[in-house]
Symmetry: C4
Subunit: 233 residues, 4 copies
């Protein structure tokens, strides 16, 4: 009997397993990453490693996006089909939202946990700048480590997770270091916009912009990688 994360031979069943993997992976990533109590370097370490292990856990099933910005970038460069991209994004946001709902059950004084916003005296514009640049760096790690040809095979997911870790150590005190629209939308939907729907919207625009900027860096087409091949077929 195949498990939830395994599809039968036909491609419809395989797509369903991939969407389930994106949902579960993003749920567990956001559940763990959003719950770290201390807002300091532990948050960076926990989020980077939680992303890394969940990419490993889902890479061979869905490609391990776990992030609408990654899905959007690979959609733009032709590595992910439109229907699959939409299904992934819905699953990612649903997973992150469930994580925030679970925080209300499992964390004492949970209000606002997992929310993102500027800090350390930074303006919303400065936080926006950090989100754009760090998300571009994350997408660059995805292409070089996992999508490009040649890539770094077994080390690919590690480089993506550690990129988030390093970016969160540097930009975390100023922007929160979301680098992921699902991680922004999940707590915003559960905690009433996390204090500022305008801020939430700014972060989403930053991630979309970063995905758009990333496309001309690695480009489209002939360097379609083995990993994605395995996922699509």
């Amino acid at each position: 009997m195949p498990g939830i994360l395994q599809g039968d031979a036909n491609s419809r069943s395989r797509l369903a397993a991939a969407v389930a993997a994106e949902f579960m992976g993003t749920f567990l990533f956001a559940l763990i990453g959003g719950a770290v109590p201390a807002k300091n370097h532990q948050t960076a370490v926990c989020n980077g490693l939680a992303l890394m292990v969940m990419i490993y856990a889902t890479a061979n099933i869905s490609g391990g996006h776990l992030n609408p910005a990654v899905t959007a970038a690979t959609l733009i460069t032709g590595h992910t089909a439109m229907s699959r991209a939409l299904a992934y994004m819905v699953a990612q946001v649903a997973g992150a939202t469930l994580a925030s709902a679970m925080h209300m059950l499992l964390v004492p004084k949970a209000a606002g946990i997992g929310c993102f916003g500027p800090g350390g005296g930074a303006t919303l514009g400065q936080a926006f700048g950090w989100e754009v640049l760090t998300t571009m760096m994350l997408v660059m790690a995805v292409y070089s480590g996992c999508v490009g040809q040649p890539n770094f095979g077994v080390a690919g997911p590690a480089t993506v997770g550690l990129t988030l870790l390093a970016c969160a150590l540097a930009a975390g005190p100023l922007s929160g270091a979301a680098l992921n629209p699902a991680r922004v939308l999940g707590p915003a939907l559960v905690f009433g916009g996390c204090g500022s729907w305008a801020g939430t919207f700014t972060y989403l625009v930053g991630a979309v912009a970063a995905a758009g900027f990333s496309a001309p860096i690695y480009g489209a087409g002939p360097h379609l990688g083995r990993w994605m091949d395995a996922v699509e077929h």
Copy 2:
């Protein structure tokens, strides 16, 4: 002359070496992981890395379970035989118990060291929820990294250890982040239930529940991995 952790060609000798590896691996993992003095992020880092290196040290001998929840999950999905599973679990609990006894010898003011229980204002029910979800995440890492086909080969044990590290950073302050019935039972047997046999029992139920929930996620049968193949034969 083969060492303790090497069996002769016949399978009975190989099973004995595997059980010895589970005992030694869990003993050293619990000895190191349970002794970290500061109850903060160092505990998470030490436990995650100690688990990682002990899985590497025993993976080619026993499969590197070192955790009755992992053994139970692989028993349910048909990757571990019943007799082997029982022998592993006894060895794991014995190793963790010896570690707690050793703590009494080697740590000044050792009373209660290595015990688990709710913290940070969390109820026992909330700690139970964290134990179930984080143990599921750990078992998911075991299947994707080590059991499934294709898996991540040489990176598999790293993903399992880093999952514990990330989970302990997030859930450690609330549940202690055991994710392992042997780690709960060892100190409980040595330190009189660690203050609450009901709490200890709750943690054990959580781990068994997580193993049961994990089976339908990755499923049984045709994806039996190379690693387990190597262990069984």
Copy 3:
């Protein structure tokens, strides 16, 4: 359509892509590594991991030098041609300078951020000693992990980044642990010599000396590695 980081088949286009990769990689490495607010172990972790992931991101395009000391050492040992070496160094310094300029935009109270200099009671001479020895260690990691034959393939960039991390934990409080002339020059150009052009010059001399000392350690010639092969052709 190939991206910026992909060259066409002809070698002039490939060299341009490699120089672009050195620019972008050094820019993002310096942007993240130079911005960590707390001058403690977080700085070491962030810089080590940011270097690691950017080497992974550029290794298959430019060889992932991201450091004039590495380029100089491989020039001396005959692994990098003179014209390529000069182009790389210009790109590296330009990337680090842009990072410091970006810090002025994106970090509140940015003055002097990312600057290097002696600390913890160390004299400039002691800081010079640490820079020479730690840069030699970094270059040694580059040769053993990435250039030499056999090397450590997929783990090579990780060993280089973790060398910086370990060196920055030890020498960071005394010298700042630059290990990279571009990282020294970038903030010095933007923040008026970082308080001491003599100090800046001392650090640059230290890095050049380390590159010179490293050549007779690993030597030139017949052990030209696969990685560099891939980059040159």
Copy 4:
């Protein structure tokens, strides 16, 4: 022109290169690992990672022992010849001693830096117990990751370094977590026994005992690994 760390084809030249690698690797490991100012978890992280990267840097030249306890264990199990083992141990102690001498030059208020001894209320006997058990764990990681067949190839040196990191987090506050006679002898020779020659001698006995205990665990003979093969020939 081959570098210092490269031997010509004849085996005498190759042995000289291996001994030079053990000297340089242990020197840089002790230089970095012994200099971390804060005696807390940063010490553990720095020492674990510095060991890891220096094993990577020397593994293909000398086997990357960098520790007389490792050399002694592989001597007992027949993986290292007696003449090579003696030369390695002399080089390791010389490297660690040079590192301590360098600390006197490069660290303000260097007296006693890098010394080991009991702490946190532990007796010398308790520190001895930790040294024996943690060194056994380290040697176990060496055999499973690097010597045994099958081993973990490219991940081997990482598992050894991370074992030291985890052990130093747990046992560091009680024993200092040397796990290495060269690291004990180096500062003791430079700083007059580090306050207690009896303590120094106890640590050396602990490491030798651990090497002796480790032999029957992994055993001798038919599982001679590829790595050592590559080194010997």
